[in-house]
Each structure stands twice: as C-alpha cells, then as structure tokens.
C-alpha cells in the first residue's frame, strides 16, 4: 500500500459572503426613468445608443437617460446615487 502524506491546502482565505437583497421590482416601465449606464467598455456607447433608440421606437412611454461612470471598472458612488435619486431602474452594459 502506497505511503500516505498529509499536505497543506495552498489556497488563501476567502472573505465571508454576506447575502444582499435585490431591490423591489417595478409594476411597469411606462412613465418611469430608466438609466442606460454605459460601462465604458469599447463599443458599449454604441450598444447603449441602440438600446435608447429601441426604447424610443418600441416603448416610447419609457423615459431613458444615458449616464457613464467616471472610470472603467471602479466604484462610482456619485453616479449610483444620481441613479437612485433621479431614476426608477437601470440597465448596465456591456460589462464584457
């Protein structure tokens, strides 16, 4: 029978995961402000513009506003609070 060895686990220590709730959903998007968040990835500006045009043509009662974070892939509390203050929903993309 082959000799058995006790060896160390090479992995680091993950942080504790703390569950968070999703925000309540809307009954309808009609008359609501939907922020289109251009996450700054290459060509996402064009994607968001096409999304804006889609809403204008297909769901004209939805009010869309386009917004960008100050930098790619970093937290932007100011932008998030602007969305919460002035908006009802947000579509973020295209995050890769």
């Amino acid at each position: 029978m082959a000799e058995k060895f006790a060896v160390h686990d090479p992995r680091g220590f993950p942080p504790k995961v703390v569950g968070k709730r999703l925000a309540p959903r809307l009954e309808t998007l009609d008359g609501k402000v939907v922020y289109l968040v251009d996450c700054l990835f290459d060509n996402s500006e064009n994607f968001m513009e096409q999304l804006r045009q889609w809403f204008a043509e297909n769901m004209p009662k939805v009010i869309t506003k386009t917004i960008k974070p100050r930098e790619s892939w970093v937290e932007d509390p100011e932008m998030c609070h602007a969305i919460a203050r002035d908006g009802d929903a947000a579509i973020l993309g295209v995050g890769l």
Binding site: H8, D9, D42, W54, W73, C80, G93, G95
Partner: protein, 448 residues
C-alpha cells in the same frame, strides 16, 4: 457587476448586460457578492468591434444564455416580482482547511491538478515537514497577513499569510532562501494571474545584495530556464498568486483569450556590477545595499533588436511605434548595449526621454485600440493630462504615446550578443489612478 450591486442596494432595480462567454464568471461573481439571483442578461460575443447593425441585431435578437428574446428578458428582469429565492440572498462562510486528507503521492498530485492548484506541471507536495523547512527562510511569523490578492479589480480579494506563501513556494520547488523574495513580490498585491481577457503576465526583477546571496543568474540566459533561483522564484510567485486569490481557472477566474507563456515563470536579477548606470532600485530611491523586487505588469508584447548600431534611432522608433500603446515598455538590455549607449553620452534618464519623445503614433491609430478606448478615453474626456491633449489632436497628427516616467530600463545578460528587448511592463510608483494605484517595488529585507 459591482455598479449593479451598488445600485440595487440603493433600492433601484437593475439589469447588468454581458456577452454570453462570461456566463460562468458572472454567476460566480454574483454568488460571491451575496446576490446569486442577480438578474443578468446576455447578448452574443463580441460587442467590441461589432457594427451598429450587429448591435441592433443583438438587442432585437435572442439572449443566448436564457434562450428568450433579449428585450423581453430585460423588461421582465425589471418588472417581474421578486421570488423567495431573490429575497433570501446568500450568506455563507468558505472554510479552507489547513491540511488536506492524507493520501498517496500519485493521488495528491492528481488532486492538485484536478483542483487547478498547479501550472499543469507536477509540483513538490507541500508536506508539513517541507513547509516547516521553507518557513525557516524567514523570521516573519507564519500567521502574519502578507496581503490581499484578486484576479481582477471587480472580483473579491482573498487574504493570505506567510504560511500560504511558503506552501506555494514549496510547490514551486523553491528553496527557503528564496522565500523572502516571493513574500515581497506577493505583498504588492499585483497578481501574476490576472483574469483579464487581454492575457497579462507579470515580469519581476530582483535588485541588491540578495541576488548574489541566493545565486541568481544575471549572465547568459538570465531570462531563461537556466537557474534554480530565477526559475523557482518566478514559478513560486505565479502559483502563490493563483492559489491565494481563489483560483486561475479558465472560464471562471481566468479569461485571457490567448494566454501568456510568461505566466510560467518570469523573474531575473539586474546585472548591476556590469551596468554602466546606477541599479534600477537606486534610481527608484532605494539604497544600493537594500534588496528589492519590482513587478512589471504586462507581458503583452516583446520587441527585440541589437545595438546601438548606426541606424539604432530608426530601429528604436519602429519598435516604439509598434508597441501596444496601453502598456509602456520595460526595456531590458544586455550590458553591451547599455555600455554602447553610455559611450554615446546617454544616461538612463536621457535615454528614457529620447524614447518617450520618439514614441509616436497618429492620433487616429492611438485611439483605435480596445484598451485605450476602455481605460484611457474616460480620463481624457475628464480632462486628465496628457490624455486630454491627445484626444484633442487631429486624427492625422502624430502624438507622443508614452511619458519618460512610464518607460523603465534595466540591464541583464551574458554579453554574448548586444541584444535588447522591449517588454510590455507597467511599473507604478503608487501615485496614479487606475492601474497605477499600487506600488510595483517592495523591499525584500523586510521579509527575511
């Protein structure tokens, strides 16, 4: 996805949109964020480079992950009431055991490979005895936290201590005297296993007395597999990064499209004694008797040449304009090349300035780049220099693409050929934004 979680926490429903190849990564990130039911939606890959018509087709087409019309999914995600699962969230601890269940060498090698704790080559199994022996390479307590590591900025950071670095150093085949170097490298928090789609690697360079003390090679083949210390330190750095950060698994925690061979091992010492210039760490403000390690983040490209020959200026201009313009060059030259420049009257600083002045592209070519569009353009639009000036340039105007302080020069090699290389290698002094927030140099002596 971090922005989406932040907005949800403020009470506003969101839909993060991704391309379909990131489905597994998105699920893992949402779970680690405590929101496993985050309502992501997907369009086909790629968005980068897609025409307006293609993008519109994605919007009017089918979500390739959920197999439903994309816009129906987006609207449902914002309007369908929350389920019990949505309301629960997910809180949990992930315990990592100190020791694994005892098993045979063959089974443990297979386990490490299956769990992707290796670089797919056999490792030295980190038995208790070997880890104890490795820890004798440092006087720092085994439970001291060395730092935090993550595959990329939007993933969670995992903590790691001296013992975890020692475990991975054993696996890499390192010796105890190599451990302080690996500890210093990892303390910087710059991962050698970035998950970026662009396939980064980290190149590291050792300066100071420790190079000789541990027998590193700055002669023939300094950047190749010809020296135990060079190779084992580089491999140990990579294995430590991938394991302490929670993995480097393709399609989960690694998304580099083509990968990078430099990720196996890329560590060398500077040939300080044979360089005509002051050592790199002295230029950075350290004493020559201090030992340091510098981590250059990049590895995207390599340019190569000889000289300085009669037409060196043309050669350097061609090399500099051919570099991927997001990551500045780390120029490594054989002592023969360095002495040649020195005889021509170049100091290191003067050569850096010449290279910066002659790193030029037409503005159109500079801006037509994925990384520049994604990471630099927002700064330019916000008025940050020198990017704002570059953005104002006429598309046909030639603009300078690197600054002198971004370009770094070091000397190594065996003087069998007057050869130089230019590697993608970002070095940060910890004073900038974005990728330049972290310092790229650490003092090894603090980890002895």
């Amino acid at each position: 996805m971090g922005l989406s979680l932040a907005v949800e926490e403020l009470g506003v429903p969101t839909v993060p949109v991704h391309t379909h190849v990131f489905n597994r990564l998105v699920k893992a990130t949402a779970l680690a964020g405590g929101v496993p039911t985050l309502r992501n939606r997907f369009v086909p890959q790629p968005v980068v480079g897609a025409s307006i018509e293609t993008l519109r087709g994605y919007i009017e087409g089918t979500d390739p992950v959920h197999q439903e019309p994309f816009m129906k999914g987006v609207i449902d995600a914002l309007t369908q009431p929350l389920t019990d699962e949505d309301l629960k969230g997910a809180s949990f601890d992930r315990e990592i055991p100190a020791l694994l269940e005892p098993d045979s060498e063959d089974n443990l090698q297979a386990l490490f490979r299956q769990n992707r704790w290796t670089d797919m080559m056999p490792v030295v199994l980190p038995t208790e005895e070997r880890v104890e022996a490795m820890l004798k390479g440092t006087s720092v307590p085994r439970d001291k936290v060395v730092g935090y590591m993550r595959p990329t900025v939007f993933r969670e950071a995992w903590e790691f201590n001296v013992e975890k670095v020692a475990v991975n150093a054993v696996m890499a085949g390192a010796a105890p005297e190599h451990l302080p170097v690996i500890l210093a490298m990892t303390s910087l928090g710059i991962t050698a296993r970035s998950s970026s789609t662009t396939s980064f690697a980290a190149i590291s360079m050792v300066n100071g007395p420790i190079r000789k003390e541990i027998g590193m090679n700055d002669g023939i083949g300094a950047m190749g597999p010809y020296n135990h210390a060079n190779t084992a330190i580089g491999r140990g750095f990579g294995l430590t990064c991938q394991n302490v950060q929670g993995g480097s698994v393709p399609d989960e925690t690694y998304m580099g499209s083509v990968g990078n061979w430099l990720a196996y091992s890329a560590c060398f010492p500077e040939a300080e004694e044979r360089s005509p210039w002051e050592p790199f760490h002295v230029t950075e403000g350290y004493d020559k008797d201090q030992s340091t390690v510098s981590v250059f983040f990049g590895g995207w490209y390599t340019q190569s040449g000889y000289g300085p020959r009669e037409t060196w200026e043309n050669k350097f201009r061609r090399c500099l304009s051919a570099l991927e313009q997001y990551v500045p060059p780390f120029i490594v030259m054989d002592p023969l090349v360095a002495r040649g420049f020195e005889e021509m009257g170049f100091t290191k600083q003067k050569l850096k300035e010449w290279c910066a002045e002659n790193s030029r592209l037409k503005a159109r070519d500079y801006w037509d780049d994925m990384a520049i569009q994604t990471l630099v353009k927002p700064h330019a639009e916000a008025g940050v220099e020198p990017f704002a000036t570059r953005l104002k340039a006429d598309p046909d105007e030639e603009i300078q693409i690197f600054e002198p302080d971004e370009i770094n020069i070091a000397v190594t090699g065996g003087e069998t050929q007057a050869n130089f290389k230019m590697f993608a290698g970002r070095f940060s002094r910890g004073t900038g934004g974005g990728a330049a927030r972290r310092r790229s140099i650490a003092v090894i002596d603090e980890w002895r």
